[in-house]
Symmetry: C2
Subunit: 226 residues, 2 copies
């Protein structure tokens, strides 16, 4: 009996099963969580009158819940509040895969697709915890330094939670895969790795003069985060 294995792996449903190139599919919760924790934005897909909308937005994760938030005036949040089906996709681009033929060019990536129905977070404690996760997801160490949300700001923020029950990851890594005959072609082939990097921080023009750039900004990176 291996309960751990079962709990650590997401159930494969018709919606989450990776059908195209199934070997790229991954269903371990840890893989899904790592991708969600490294990426900064998700793309939220929803349907209004049979019309699909795909909207980029930031998010946070607490355990097996993904949180998004915003103004109650947002069409996306209002629509999702009605309990409709949502598809949230997160993609990290890791490299360009340059093959010897145009046909076999590809990209290395890690993506997560989540299906489900989002719920409005009403309870004040969970709402604050979601907002904390949201800020900490973007910049770890930030929450304890900034002014926390006021009562009015909390009231004016709509927070939605989406359970990470029906999700899967898709991952491509490694070199190009060329047709055997093409390996003799005099063409450079390989991978050009990509990563999101930072430039020098730009201090706000009204920054108090004694304030220095915090270490969590100076050493900011999305890679190898725990």
């Amino acid at each position: 009996m291996n309960l751990n294995k079962t709990e650590n792996t997401l159930p494969i449903t018709d919606r989450t099963k990776i059908k195209r190139i199934p070997k790229r599919g991954q269903y371990e919760r840890e893989v899904v969580h790592q991708i969600l924790d490294e990426a900064l934005i998700c793309h939220v897909g929803f349907v209004v009158d049979n019309q699909p909308f795909v909207i980029p937005t930031a998010y946070g994760r607490v355990a097996d819940n993904l949180y998004i938030h915003g103004s109650p005036a947002s069409r996306m949040l209002r629509s999702l509040s009605n309990g409709i089906e949502v598809c949230v996709t997160v993609t990290l681009l890791d490299g360009l895969v340059l093959a010897r033929s145009a046909f076999h060019h590809s990209m290395n990536y890690r993506s997560v697709v989540i299906f489900g129905v989002a719920q409005v977070v009403e309870e004040a404690g969970e709402k604050l915890e979601a907002l904390r996760a949201f800020t900490e997801h973007v910049v770890k160490g930030r929450w304890s330094e900034v002014r926390p949300p006021s009562h009015q700001e909390l009231q004016g923020t709509l927070v939605l939670s989406l359970p990470l029950n029906e999700a899967s990851a898709k991952v491509r890594t490694g070199p190009p895969s060329d047709d055997e005959a093409d390996y003799s072609l005099p063409v450079w082939a390989g991978v050009l790795p990509l990563q999101l990097s930072t430039l020098s921080p730009i201090a706000d023009s009204r920054l108090l003069s004694e304030i220095t750039v915090p270490e969590y900004v100076q050493k900011y990176t999305r890679v190898h985060q725990e």
Copy 2:
């Protein structure tokens, strides 16, 4: 009479009108094209049985058409081939906006949302041109060096075009916008700029020994592309 102005601006429809924070909305074709040309992947949203799907994929642009492609076995491509409504979203993340309050944290970004119905590209000339644009979009200068698609590869690739007739961009730039009372808080505030950068290229293990890394790989950047 200013025909140019009209032609250079996309019509604002109910679907493309930026309703949340309308000052961030931009409808100039040039702005939309620049964002599409700089980004590498899009997120394609479509509906099957009232269920939204959001799938990341690469793309190319030729004039006022966006092209995506893949295997005819792909659910996404098969679904879109049926002439259903699609929403394609492209997002560039430009920076983290760190305000003095948690509430006013934000991100600088440039995004494009395109609505429409995709069409299968049947004509061989347009299909090849789309695949050229696709490769050149990812790595400019690559197409002329690699083995072009064979007849069989062309036959086995489904190419779809989506007209850029109903699209808009949304752009946030600049510093945080804090509540007046918060400017006196002893908290660092400003922007941490982000950009997609490259690491050293990884040559394929079967690369012929005399082949050096091409300049378009060595000097690769997505920024300031023409």
